[in-house]
């Protein structure tokens, strides 16, 4: 049994109110504006989440906490055979902290195996930049991480 890596923690201050930011984690159409090309999500405790993140495979998980507009927790893993982070194996906590006109988003990704930590850290840096742009009202453009021909 591998010892999990230190959690990945990524923070962004977003120029939007908490309930606006929260909706980008609960409404599939909004989520797809910053990450993924195909998503099903049922943002209720026990609800499923499934998303083609870059066009080359699905990530899926289950919501465990949905507490608008403060906190959302879901499990996360990749469905591709042999991936070191299978569905259910890692957990993502998103905390939204009210700072007046600005919302601090703190995303904590726990229980990743050490070899997968680096890429997930860089991935969340990349995707929270896109979320910050979108939730503050601008267009983050096409995701450069999307694969062109899966």
């Amino acid at each position: 049994m591998t010892v999990p890596a230190e959690p990945v923690v990524v923070e962004r201050r977003i120029n939007a109110r908490r309930d606006t930011v929260f909706s980008y984690f609960t409404d599939p159409a909004r989520w797809l504006q910053w990450q993924g090309i195909d998503a099903e999500l049922e943002a209720l405790p026990g609800g499923r989440l499934r998303m083609n993140v870059r066009g080359d495979g699905y990530a899926s998980g289950t919501f465990t906490v949905v507490d608008p507009p403060h906190r959302i927790v879901f499990t996360w893993g990749w469905e591709m055979a042999g991936n070191p982070v299978p569905p259910g194996s890692s957990t993502i906590e998103v905390d939204l902290i009210d700072e007046g006109e600005v919302t601090l988003v703190r995303l904590t990704h726990r229980d990743l195996p050490p070899e997968s930590r680096d890429l997930h850290a860089q991935g969340w840096e990349h995707y929270l930049d896109r979320l910050a742009a979108r939730a503050a009202g601008s267009d983050p453009g096409r995701d450069p991480w999307l694969v062109d021909n899966p």
Binding site: M80, E115, V147, N149
Partner: protein, 101 residues
């Protein structure tokens, strides 16, 4: 292993960067790392089996280069990851420089 899993490893990404523009022998690639030749060889094997590098044999030597066509869908992801890797290296180098003053 899927492609993203292969490039999730920072050493394999560094190998791809080294052989992106030029074909290089395994020994030269190994010289860039502080890990054993065997460990570098294993990474090269993973990259080769995933079809991300091409190998040419010349006598006993093996030359590697990135298969850019196979990597094309991942090019912008790789470039961003390389840039961040270089930024981190630059920070480390600067910190070292300051300490030695």
């Amino acid at each position: 292993m899927d492609t993203v899993q292969v490039i999730a490893d920072p050493r394999r990404r560094e190998i791809l960067r080294l052989v992106w523009d030029a074909e290089r022998p395994a020994s030269e690639i190994a010289d860039h790392f502080d890990i054993t030749f065997g460990a570098v060889s294993q990474h090269l094997g993973v990259l080769r089996r995933a079809g991300l590098v091409a190998v040419r044999r010349d006598g006993t030597r093996r030359f590697y280069r990135a298969d850019r066509a196979a990597l094309r869908p991942y090019t912008s992801m790789l470039r961003q990851l390389w840039a961040e890797q270089l930024d981190r290296l630059a920070e480390l180098a600067e910190a070292e420089e300051q300490e030695s003053r």
